[in-house]
């Protein structure tokens, strides 16, 4: 009876409202707005994630780590926020196929959007506001730049979107649906808030606290207040303020009680000085902290606190809401555009690293050839690895750009070196497996285990002749989702004695490992210098390894080593002609740099190289006599002679190593 009366009353109110409107106005179907926002956001996210940053996203998963063992689960969950980290690490794997990972991530964000819209009863026209935190998370994925190398999170991409979704799910005011009175509902909500904070802080970290805060807010917004109670003054602000304060105090008390309990358990880990911050991403490296990179996470955590208030936004005029929507969309795109780390070398390095690991030498050289500006030293090293594998180190290394720059920096925060990037991969490909293991292990220690380091450690163990050690890493890789195939393909080299020479991944590293000399020392983080110095002093009879030694001596411009290696090259290849750049270097050394005591009569020079050398020297002298400075001469000679040893020596005066 009561319900019927209510319905009649509602119908009458609706009718009255309807009569007030001008009849000619056709109502805009607002319900399509959130659908439109979703589609626009999905397109934008796809563009930034997949079109622009597929290589970064692949890289992030490759430096992540998840496996199906109980041990991994236990390790993750030994700190607050651990369950989220475990789940995030699992999903991050799917960026192995960047399109799949991107689609999943976007779907998760859209689910978050729709859930928030439903939970907080956000009006269709204002629902675009819910996309702000997820856009912030999108920004967090594309702004990293060189931080990708030193991220400690194996779950970076998915952890926070999952956290946000979990917080929304946990704060769903299910008590609204219960057939009980308002007071009882408020008691349930209060108890739920405490439970969420107490029970879910350990699995979800800071997102459990977000869920608790959102619960506090939905507590006062029970949606059943009488007209009197719902007045802004009495039922709204005062009630909400009081509940937020009391709820926050309760949370604080709870955590203070909870923290020592967890710590004294002895098997869990929680820093007593920052118990609240687990699950929040800090960009901290030693003394440095980059707050600018943390902004998206602050937005993702703080903005949802406003969701319940968005639920109160209602407007008759779409102009206001859609005007603001356009402003927000423009700001969002501008922000994403500005924060997207588009440095060419940064992306090229990641592609080259992957290509080197997969022995796609043409792709490595293709990347090296595409670069127009100065390159990083890592790119030079990766390119040289490809050249070594193709037997072209001494005949092609100067045909690519050797002009070097430091890796670009992100927000003036970190300065990355090769040893932080792919030192292990580079060492491995030069046959320096022990140094590769050392760097891989240090990386694991600093930034956690990853598929990349596990593969690297497995390969090093195989080349080193440590089968049991290799088996350990392969066993773990076989418990992952996408690395299993790699592990299975590699296992025969351990179990069945499949010859390593038959596989491109092992062929050259093994050869250089066998020919390299045994020394004891350290690299002091100078990866390139360590490799070059070791090889330029290595005297070997193996023609392939000797070319590496000769190339290193030539590139390091060490006369004594260079001529020793030239002699050794002749000794083991008396009938062969010297590679192009070696001929250029010999001519330049003897005739331009006046190296004495060298007898070139035994060298069969290519006439074209001799002519080119002469032409270079003539031009050089001609430009110098015209009063041009070094830079101008370098620029003028580059189109014709930029691919020669002479140009490199004359223009790039200092040997650049890292």
């Amino acid at each position: 009876m009561k319900n019927e009366m209510k319905k009649v009353k509602e119908r009458a109110e609706t009718k009255a409202k309807g009569n007030a409107r001008p009849r000619k106005q056709i109502p805009f179907p607002k319900s399509i707005l959130p659908v439109g926002y979703s589609i626009c956001f999905a397109v934008m996210a796809w563009f930034f994630l997949y079109v622009r940053n597929a290589d970064t996203m692949y890289f992030l998963q490759d430096r992540g780590w998840w496996n199906s063992t109980r041990l991994f689960f236990d390790t993750c969950t030994s700190v607050p926020g651990g369950l989220l980290a475990w789940a995030g690490a699992y999903l991050t794997q799917f960026f192995y196929y960047p399109a799949l990972g991107s689609a999943m991530l976007i779907a998760l964000w859209l689910a978050t959007f729709w859930l928030a819209k439903y939970a907080f009863r956000i009006a269709d026209e204002w629902s675009f506001l819910l996309l702000i935190p997820v856009a912030a998370l999108l920004c967090s994925d594309i702004q990293l730049g060189y931080w990708v190398y030193i991220l400690v999170d194996v779950d970076y991409v998915f952890c926070h979107p999952l956290g946000l979704l979990a917080a929304l799910v946990l704060s769903l005011p299910f008590w609204r649906l219960l057939p009980v009175g308002k007071k009882v509902k408020q008691c349930i909500a209060l108890a739920w808030m405490v439970l969420v904070a107490a029970l879910f802080y350990y699995p979800l970290g800071i997102y459990a606290l977000l869920a608790a805060v959102l619960t506090v807010e939905t507590l006062f917004d029970s949606g059943e207040s009488s007209a009197k109670e719902a007045s802004p003054l009495r039922g709204g602000l005062v009630g909400s303020g009081g509940l937020v304060v009391s709820g926050s105090l309760l949370l604080l008390f709870l955590t203070l009680w909870l923290v020592p309990k967890l710590e004294t358990a002895g098997s869990l880990l929680m820093r007593p000085d920052q118990p609240w911050m687990y699950g929040f991403r800090k960009f901290e490296l030693d003394e440095l902290r980059d707050y600018s990179l943390e902004i998206p996470f602050y937005v993702a955590l703080v903005f949802p606190v406003l969701f319940p208030f968005f639920g109160k936004l209602r407007t008759g005029k779409l102009l206001y809401s859609q005007g603001l929507m356009l402003v927000c969309a423009a700001a969002m795109i501008l922000c994403l555009q500005a924060r997207d780390f588009t440095d060419y070398n940064f992306h090229a390095e990641m592609r080259m690293q992957r290509a080197v690991e997969e022995c796609r030498w043409n792709d490595v050289l293709g990347e090296a050839a595409k670069v127009t500006g100065p390159v990083t030293r890592e790119m030079v090293m990766l390119r040289n690895i490809a050249l070594i594998n193709r037997g072209e180190l001494c005949s092609k290394c100067y045909t690519y750009n050797n002009e070097s720059v430091q890796p670009a920096i992100v927000s003036d925060s970190i300065h990355i070196r090769i040893c932080d990037q792919a030192a292990d991969l580079i060492y491995y490909n030069f046959g320096e497996t022990v140094f590769a293991i050392r760097r891989a292990m240090e990386r694991c220690m600093h930034y956690g285990y990853s598929y990349y380091t596990q593969r690297m450690l497995a390969q090093c163990a195989i080349v080193n002749g440590e089968p049991e050690n290799a088996r350990r890493y392969l066993r773990l890789l076989s418990r992952t989702t996408f690395q299993r195939k790699w592990a299975e393909a590699t296992l025969p080299f351990v179990d069945n004695g499949k010859p390593l020479q038959e596989d491109e991944r092992f062929r050259m590293p093994l050869r250089l490992y066998n020919e390299g000399s045994e020394l004891v020392g350290t690299d002091d983080k100078y990866v390139e210098l360590t490799i070059m110095k070791k090889w330029m002093y290595t005297i070997t009879e193996d023609p392939v390894a000797q070319e590496v030694a000769l190339g290193c001596a030539m590139m390091m411009r060490d006369r004594r080593c260079f001529w020793s290696q030239v002699q050794q090259h002749y000794n083991i290849n008396p009938a062969a002609t010297f590679p192009t750049h070696v001929q250029e270097a010999m001519l330049f050394e003897v005739y331009e740099l006046k190296t004495s005591g060298v007898n070139l009569s035994f060298v069969k020079f290519d006439e074209r190289i001799v002519e080119r050398y002469k032409a270079f020297i003539n031009r050089l002298k001609q430009f110098a006599s015209q009063g041009m400075n070094e830079k101008q001469i370098g620029r003028a000679l580059r189109p014709e002679f930029g691919d020669t040893y002479m140009w490199d020596y004359s223009v790039l005066r200092e040997v650049q190593t890292n």
Partner: protein, 498 residues
Amino acid sequence: MTYKTYMTFLPLLVLFLLAACGKPSLPTSYTQVNAEPDIWPDYRGVTVPPNIAPLNFLVDSVEDVVAQIRPQQGEQMVCGGKANKVQIDEEEWHEMLASSRGGSLSVTVYTRQGGKWQAYKPFAIHVAEEEVDPYVSYRVLPPTFVGFDELSIRQRNLTSFEETTIYNNRLITEGLEGQCINCHSYQNYRTDNMMFHMRMQHPGTMIVSDGELIFVNLKTEGMISAAAYNSWHPSLPIIAFSTDHTMQSFHTRDVTKVEVMESASDIVIYDVKQNRVQVVLCDSAEMELFPSWSPDGKWLYYCSAHYKYKDKYEDTDELLQQYKTLQYSLYRLSFDAASMTFGQPELIYDAVGKNRSAVQPRVSQDGRYVLFAEGPWGLFHIWHPTADILMLDMQAGQLVDTSPMNSQLAESYPSFSSNDRWVLFESRRDDGNYTRTYLAYFDRKGRLHKPFEVPQRDPEFFRLFLRSWSRPELMKEPVRITPRQFRDKALTEPVKVN
């Protein structure tokens, strides 16, 4: 769900639960294999203490495995049935061990491959009369070289699988500038007097003295460095330390991977109650290391390498060239507790004469045996694949046969249990890289038996665990100071020695 639906599924659910809880049974038909099974860890023929946790194991490449464990007297136990793992019920295991002291268990393994069962020849697990100290503590760290981001000292109850943290460096530090924690040790296997060092961040030595926690800066003027390798006097509040400069370098090809060297080292003692340091040995041509008290407190054992720098003292470049000549022999000094004075060095084992290097001496409770690690050179033998554990019989003046407990790969850091019947040591025999903890029975006739890896709840644990368990120490009781208490103390200013 309706009531009817519930009633339909309930019996099925009950049946499922019953099936899940059911014990595995032995296969009725199988093929007999005339060989022992390949199990991991290898517990075949080992001798175990009667208080050890269940020796869970696995068999590779099988679909199912069941083990029948039969004591010489009493009821047999059938376990397994969890894919390729045999995980034994703790309670039943302990009952069986208790009834088998001095006897042995016979284990028959059945495996299923391609749907067919096979039965292997039974193997024995011998149960000693003597128990092992119930706790072991160790450092847990990746086999890394320089970084200290993630380090903890943990303790494990050997009679069960309970493991807790004594201290974790992540309670204070995160990131590259970590905190190195090392050299935990105890007085007489008890934890009321114990210590460990902290380096880098908040450096100092954490000492528990009669249950009271103190934090000390042991570096004094004239000492080479802060205190390092140590040993508690068995009855006095005195700790002997070596003080040294450590350096390490990397091989380019050798699987040894790294060489750790001391460019200088001396030995001092620290009086915990008086807060005073006294120099014991400081010869610049001798590198004295790893002090270790005899259980009667009358002798201080140590190792020393003779080395004279050619031009400059502590010329690390020179040392790097000569690292293979840095070999240690074992010595001891007599100690007079009344006057706190030491006698003259006495050579007890000339490893250098054998072109070897002996380090980390530990003396048995009866003073008769000295355990130590021997390798080709240097002091960090866990990195030397040829390093072994040796035992010197001081009474007979000869080495005990330790071959049953050594392997083709590195062994290091040996120690006796408090009743002398168990030798605890670390080894990289699994794969050459990750250090694991082993126990070997040392019987009353002076014979060593095949060692066994400290058992884990999940037998696959050590295969998957990418951390080393290093520097194991047996204890009679767990450390009671909580990680939080250690942390809070570490944040205070360390006390300087007088």
